[in-house]
Symmetry: C2
Subunit: 238 residues, 2 copies
């Protein structure tokens, strides 16, 4: 069976697919840093911080450390990055304010309209490595109209572990072919397809900044390929 | 500290507090039963079925059976109730249709407006013994604008176990005094208050039908007491 005819639930990767994490971090922290008189290269901080994302989750995946929420992995790697950048010593409240910049990310310009249309026809939610608190606060900040936050925290596994995609199906009493993942990252869709889910690709060619070289195009024939979430809604008849 | 000044998240009991389970079950299944030519006393079925709710959760709480979602406890007790009522033999699809009547419950007339107002100022979600699938489908059916479904499934404990109320606080990185439970049942508020949460009582004097004798009034000085969810929103400045 092919095509998205039976889809009841659409889950979305968040960082990069729905929200512009890099642009938002730079904008938010540059403003705040200026008020604080901090001279830190926030673009470099964003890139180094995000660079620690995969290795940090890898420590959980390998069993080196027990399940740890992304908020806490972020906090740990933030301190390492600040030290690498020779940033001035910061107090606990400032560190928490920086760490919670992930709660204050802006959606891509097409995201809210696309999701609102999709929500009329489907159940929609993030399937993100972010913990529930991060996702719920981000949704409030960015006006993302989720029906439910399918955080990886609920499954105690990080994507692309199959426990995450299949955990959503089981929790919603749906067959994998009734669930579709929409993502800007081919590796995420590969893992979802291996679990039997439907797949949709949206390119986000500036997620990692102007020099991005990965995920510029669909690397497989995904069930749907659209230029953004508004076109995706149209493709899905929503 | 008293008063709801620091509240950031309001969680709601669902069955009875937000949705009229008894009236909805009777209305939905009476219509369907007529089409099917089934003569079953649906009001009696609703009462017996709901009567099995506490004992069924008690089996999980005592450890007699492992964690089991409410959908599955409902399915088991539905079969016992139908047998007690000497109902005609029903196929699996019909049984599933009846069991999913819990996905098709109507909100009390004040619920959607009250929740929409509260959502502008607070994070809102159910904290219900219903599993995630039930809560998300019920919200779609009844237009309940939750930010997230804090189902007891996420904590593998049924209310009024403290793991549920404290599980929400931990998941949202909030202190108990930043979280308020709104419920039509005094026992639920007692348990939440023991965990340090704020409390709000809404009476629902016909939840169990015309002869209801319990929870007609607030049995403690809860932080907020309101006649319905619209008045509750007003009390909360939303």
């Amino acid at each position: 069976m092919t095509g998205p005819e039976n889809v009841k639930l659409i889950i979305f990767d968040c960082f990069g697919t729905v929200v512009d994490w890099r642009g938002s971090i730079i904008e938010d922290l540059s403003k705040w840093g200026e008020q604080k008189g901090l001279s830190i290269d926030w673009a470099l901080l964003a890139d180094l911080w995000r660079g620690s994302y995969e290795p940090q989750m890898g420590r959980v995946r390998s069993g080196e450390i027990p399940w740890t929420n992304l908020d806490d992995l972020h906090f740990e790697s933030l301190q390492a990055v600040l030290s690498e950048l020779h940033a001035p010593e910061l107090g606990q409240l400032d560190l928490m304010h920086i760490n919670r910049v992930w709660y204050r990310l802006n959606p891509w310009p097409d995201a809210v309209e696309g999701l609102e249309r999709l929500k009329r026809k489907f159940v929609i939610g993030p399937l993100s490595n972010a913990n529930v608190s991060l996702l719920v606060n981000m949704a409030k900040f960015a006006n993302l109209p989720w029906d439910h936050a399918f955080s990886c925290e609920l499954y105690q596994h990080y994507k692309p572990d199959p426990e995450t995609y299949l955990g959503v199906c089981r929790m919603m009493y749906l067959d994998p072919e009734e669930v579709m993942l929409c993502a800007a990252h081919n590796y995420d869709l590969v893992a979802a397809r291996e679990c039997g889910l439907r797949t949709a690709f949206i390119p986000r060619s500036t997620e990692y900044g102007p020099g991005q070289k990965t995920d510029l195009t669909a690397e497989q024939e995904w069930d749907v390929i659209a230029s953004d979430l508004i076109e995706f809604a149209t493709e899905m008849g929503a």
